[in-house]
Symmetry: C4
């Protein structure tokens, strides 16, 4: 693992280790994977017009999102079925996140029970919510998350139906039967078998999750829990603004990692318009293709309060379990720290929009 020196190295190593079905499930995007690639490329198209002579001897990377403190502006993105990568699954990820001062967002489709994960996630656990057609199950999930000490609900809204995961279709991939959906107990236990019916994950999703969600459901969830509700999967400024008026306390700009609607825009391209639309009272997070410390600087410069990182943790888990996940975070934090210093920024608040311009564009004569 010592010869893996950036997140791309971890990805390559993990892809070589995983069986084809799991590998493609984790790495894949919808259809032609144009959005999957666009997410990544969009960060590279932004360039950092760094400042110099700013005394960057002591950087302070801490930030907070609605009161949640984090040592640097990253959260672990929710990804399903982490035990396919490593037996310890979400617990290993949670311990790694905590070790690096980060909160984690736990998927509804976690293999490890949220209580166990919450115990490991000592720097904060948020709960990602899929809304089941059976609202009793949904209510139970929210209540249980609250009881487990989760500090926010992250409502996924970009998956009313499953995306065209063609890799999974070709592989005939479905979640392994021997791995539990450990959050689905009680009323939800009936839905805890991923092998229930046809069509793999997408089939499950289409049968279980409610495609009829509207703003009313968002309001219902916001009323159901004292936890702040983030809406995840937004790419439009008007959508974001409306959601903020109907109960969303924060927005996660996301296209589900390119796994839902192919040719959806890259998150880095729509982020700023959403930040401007909702205003400073509503924190905006972003995910999709963040692999370099400089990407985080760029997200902040475009107005994000923090970013979410998903697949790289899976690669870390695959390569080395918790130690692998830690190493991924260590590398990313180091890169971010260096990127801040070289950008001339000591604190998160010093990252401003003037740091960015599109690649190849000529800047104005500022100053």
């Amino acid at each position: 693992m010592n010869d893996l020196i950036n997140l791309f190295d971890f990805e390559a190593a993990a892809l070589a280790l995983l069986p084809a079905g799991t590998r493609d499930y984790y790495r894949g995007g919808a259809a032609d994977e144009l959005t999957l690639r666009a997410n990544r490329d969009a960060w590279d198209r932004w360039q950092i017009h760094y400042r110099v002579l700013r005394d960057v001897a002591e950087r302070d990377l801490r930030t907070e999102v609605l009161g949640e403190q984090m040592d640097w502006p990253v959260l672990i993105a929710p990804t399903a079925y982490q035990a396919m990568a490593n037996e310890a699954g979400e617990c290993a990820t949670a311990r790694a996140a905590a070790a690096f001062g980060l909160p984690m967002v736990l998927s509804t489709l976690s293999n490890r029970p949220m209580e166990d994960v919450a115990a490991a996630a000592t720097r904060g656990l948020w709960f990602q919510l899929y809304v089941y057609r059976d609202r009793g199950v949904t209510r139970e999930l929210i209540g249980r998350a609250q009881a487990a000490g989760c500090r926010a609900i992250v409502l996924t809204v970009d998956a009313p139906v499953g995306g065209a995961r063609e890799r999974d279709v070709r592989n005939g991939f479905s979640y392994p039967k021997d791995l539990p959906m450990s959050n689905l107990t009680g009323a939800g236990a009936q839905f805890s078998n991923p092998d229930l019916g046809e069509g793999g994950f997408v089939g499950y999703l289409n049968r279980m999750f409610d495609p009829s969600l509207t703003l009313r459901d968002l309001e219902w969830i916001a009323a159901e829990t004292p936890l702040p509700v983030f809406v995840k999967g937004v790419v439009r400024a008007d959508d974001a603004r409306v959601m903020a008026r109907h109960g969303a306390r924060g927005i996660v700009v996301s296209n589900h990692g390119g796994r839902q609607l192919d040719t959806a825009p890259a998150t880095a391209d729509v982020l700023e318009s959403i930040v401007q639309a909702v205003g400073p009272q509503v924190p905006v997070l972003v995910d999709g293709g963040i692999r370099r410390g400089t990407d985080i600087v760029k997200a902040l410069a475009l107005g994000a309060r923090a970013v979410l990182v998903g697949r790289p943790l899976i690669w870390g888990l695959t390569v080395g379990g918790e130690a692998g996940a830690r190493r991924v975070l260590e590398l990313l934090r180091h890169e971010f720290d260096i990127a801040m210093a070289l950008s001339g920024c000591n604190r998160i608040g010093e990252v401003d929009r003037s740091l960015l311009a599109r690649a190849g564009e000529l800047p104005p004569a500022r100053g």
Copy 2:
């Protein structure tokens, strides 16, 4: 055939099955095939800024074009000599179209007689018209189409002379002598032999079809038949507007699938300007490179009333005859349905222009 999960798969499978001459005839474009590729690429350059929380549990994909009802906004594009792909030819295509609730546009150069095709096309048949120098033949074709129950005439205007089909020239390709041009009987029978003279298809076209067509001919055809006349092959807004004033009831934005004038613009790039020019009373259809369900959403968002899909049906026919054609439509309909749901649209009328922006462009802060 079960392992073919999208239209590109069908294309690859069909290309492997067809003899070189036929394969290149179907797949090829003019000259350097820049327009052929541009047609496809242009759809990908549009990105869908999808909406969320819109209750997409029940989608209604139906639409109509000048009274023609269709279950989803697709028509089968006219392509010649479908019996080269499968013996049942246009009849198989017609049955597949009908099974999926779609009208079909039949080529003048059909192998199966239009009456047979009309009987199979129970959800509607339109007739694509090439104007023969011999206007008696032309009049006969129109009358026969009308009698056979065709519900619209689609006048091709982008082929006053044949394009530079270099693949066909290299292959020495001409239509097989043993396949009849079954629509050319009576006065037209003299022109029913594709082997009549030199130069393959383009030679036939140049000898038979009238390069002197003007708006007067459009007026003549519109007066000749009570059927609505669509003009197919338009890429300019001014042309479209003038045609609407001279008898065209609808416009098909098309560059003949990239087979006529190379470096003509991609249809996805000119569509909107034409829609705006002719106004809401004149339905605008579009073809060229539509292969994904998301492409259809994009065409609608740019103002098209429906799209035409051509080559993919040929690939379906080649791979599996009528069953192959059905499977192609089944895949495309499923993709379109999913794309609508993930775009936050329940009905065709909910697809609006705000869903689209160019790849890499930064959207305004809407809302």
Copy 3:
């Protein structure tokens, strides 16, 4: 030769036939060959927004440039040492040009004497002039061209010094000693040996040609001869306008086929600005990368009166001598004729600016 169906085919065939030194001399550009490629690519970036229903049964492709009649708007560009491609050299080219109703521009560095070429070029010969440091030689060349019946002087201005022809340097290429510079007789005979000194062609050019040319020299040449003087090698609108004021009767937009200053702009990109600058009284011609009939339509739409085509004639000569050159012109004329018809244009005068837009750009709603 029958299997060569476009100009690119001729290029590939000729490259395979020629010895490396000659091949690279003809095909090569300066330095990284960015301008060489840009010339070609720039034509492809323009797209033709063709018109339909225009009665294109009878096309008339004729035009004239300052009284010079040509059957279609093409001249043969001056290229040196055509006898390396075929023994008959410039005479073969001239016969081919005449057979297709075109004037030819003969290089100062012709292998065949201009009187012989003039006799073969029955549709008009123009003389390309390099200005020797020895003005007596220059005056002699002009006088001789006039006496031979040349109808215009084309003064090359983009070669005050030789470009960085790296292919030639690597190959140690120089003109063959056994091929005469047949225009250099009388006073010029002393300069007729290409092997005179070091550095190959560029060495010769630097020793012989005058880098001190100014507008005064242009005025001198214009006064020296009653023939109209075209200035060739202009890429700036201001330069073109000034030259028109100092004796130039016409402008040839050219960057010497990408052989002089690498990273000079593509001619297709600067053509229009020059046409607008000099106004309708000064005909503007253009060369550089014209290989398709559609390229000629585009040049006309941008305001060129005609185009010059160079290397493709060399490829024709190489492959089949005069017959090869004829075939190249036959293919190009056919393509141009078809391109005119498919663009909806019957006469040169019908080609207008509205036919063009940049690839991928969205057109306005015209009409």
Copy 4:
């Protein structure tokens, strides 16, 4: 060496000769090397709209920067540890520079003592300064440079911490122990061992150099020496203007050759904005990717007073020691001379902004 005819040839030859660690150290950039490539590509994206008929028989390429005379507008960029390429190291480079009438900028991390290099650099030596945490060492370096006859101080400001030199990390590269840091004697002797501690060059840099630099330090250095101080590593117009107010006499637009912050902008893209911001009293130099004579013309047209060239000298040293370095400069000077002539410029002062436009952009109708 005779078959190496441009700077890219020298690069390829040197890369083949060097051991992997040294090769990658010299050639490499930070992280994904996007800025490394962008530096190069940005020059190519500018095109030269050359002038003609300007009498370029006698070019005068001389210029000056704050009184420093140079035969053509190039300085040798500071690069560390040149003795890895050739034993004579910086002395060889200095002799080559002097032979071609150029000043050299010597790195703090020179292998040869600055006094020796100054003796060789008869056309001027400038001293590149890294500020050590130990200001006594820094003061000693400045004083020694002054005493050695250096004529300017070039303060590097884009390396408060080391960049992500991933090639070096993979190679486990560190400076060879047997090569001295010859400028670090006296108080600095304690820091002269590159093997002092972990992390290779970047580790050394992070331990030794002061990340807390501010405008106060710039003022201190400017007050410490009568020599003009250039600030190197600036990519923002506002930064440049502020520095000019706090003691900088000149600016070097640079991103450290793409070795520090990846996705920093290409220098060719920000140069002009900086020139405009600081005004004509503050000379602006630029480095990054300059490999062709035309690149120098472009830099001047964008307002640079001169350019710095770094890695190509290393390639020259590697291939042929001082003779190799000379040959590199000879090739580049020749290219620049030709580029000036073909641009229609006789003197540096004739290079103006109108010579440039972006590739593919349509110029206005000037003149």
